[in-house]
Amino acid sequence: MKSRLQILAVAAIGIACLVFLFQRLFPNEERRIRKRLDGLASLVASAEGGSTARGLLAADRLRDYLTSDIEIEIEVPGERRQTFSGRQDIIRAALAARAAYGGLKVAFLDVRVTLGPGNESASVSTTVRASQPGQRDVFYQEMKLTLQQEDRQWRVRKAETVKSLQL
């Protein structure tokens, strides 16, 4: 009886390990999107006192995360609505933001992925958290991202702020 239980326990652990390994080696689309967003967050974030060269490198890598016709619509309390379109414009804006906010940390929280037909596009609902070292206030903003799969890579086609409370 005891040995049977032991065999069952070992089998359960073995199956769990196999499932974990399989998921790591062959991630599903949702997992791939989450991983891409983590990568995007670390690129948008900047090291405190980071060099211009590092910024340019990040900007170059950022290109791989955006479609060429990307659009960003931002409307946050106390600021006027801003729209950016085109990859070059956005990379320029990201570089300016990195320079202006040294040590900026960005995270995508509460990520909810809805895949489109044929897994060619996806809609992501998330709360963006942005903070700067030494600053008491942490910025939170609900956002909707539209992603598109190009050359087996998920790229952001549209990013827009969402008003959690409507007036």
Binding site: P77, D110, V111, T127, R129, E142, M143, S164, L165
Partner: protein, 172 residues
């Protein structure tokens, strides 16, 4: 054949680390962890308050819980402080319910009017001259505002939310 004697006491260090019986201690720990998981995941969500939009009632850095079962038997009520979902439950807005579904509200010089009558709000200490023209809430919408009305209206996140965005009521 002699009867077995009393079991020898485990050494003090072992009793301090995991009690008299390792099996029982592990069982108790597992039970405690399961109860804590269910309570803090599905009933009471622990929250840390960030920002000053609910001042002076709730201060930045305070800790509280959102009771997810608060509205199991009745709908949200005016004056309740609730947690409102953003994209999910990891980050929530912390606001007070000021107007209920189908009510007509307006704000004139910082004072809230519901169906034309001024609302008594003892929790508001300072008022900036906020202005919102009259509008009517939908059948499933609640008007949510923070208690800190001394803030600039443009910097204060407030507005209407559907009932499904309300996660629960604050515990205290």
């Amino acid at each position: 054949m002699s009867a077995p004697g009393p079991r020898p006491e485990p050494p003090l260090w072992r009793r301090l680390v995991y009690g008299r019986s390792l099996k029982r201690t592990l069982l108790r720990a597992a039970l405690l962890m399961s109860v804590a998981f269910v309570v803090f995941r599905f009933i009471l969500i622990p929250v840390r308050i960030e920002g000053d939009s609910m001042a002076p009632t709730y201060r930045d850095g305070g800790v509280n819980f959102i009771n997810q079962l608060a509205y199991a038997r009745h709908p949200p009520r005016r004056g309740d402080v609730v947690g409102v979902m953003m994209a999910g439950r990891r980050v929530m807005l912390f606001k007070r319910i000021v107007a209920l579904p189908n009510e007509r509200f307006s704000i004139a010089r910082g004072r809230v009017f519901i169906d034309g009558q001024p609302l008594d709000e003892p929790y508001v200490r300072e008022r900036s001259p906020w202005e919102i023209t009259p509008r009517t809430l939908g059948p499933d919408e609640y008007l949510l505002i923070g208690d800190n009305r001394g803030m600039d209206q443009r910097l204060h996140v407030f507005g209407a939310a559907k009932a499904d965005r309300i996660v629960g009521k604050v515990l205290w």
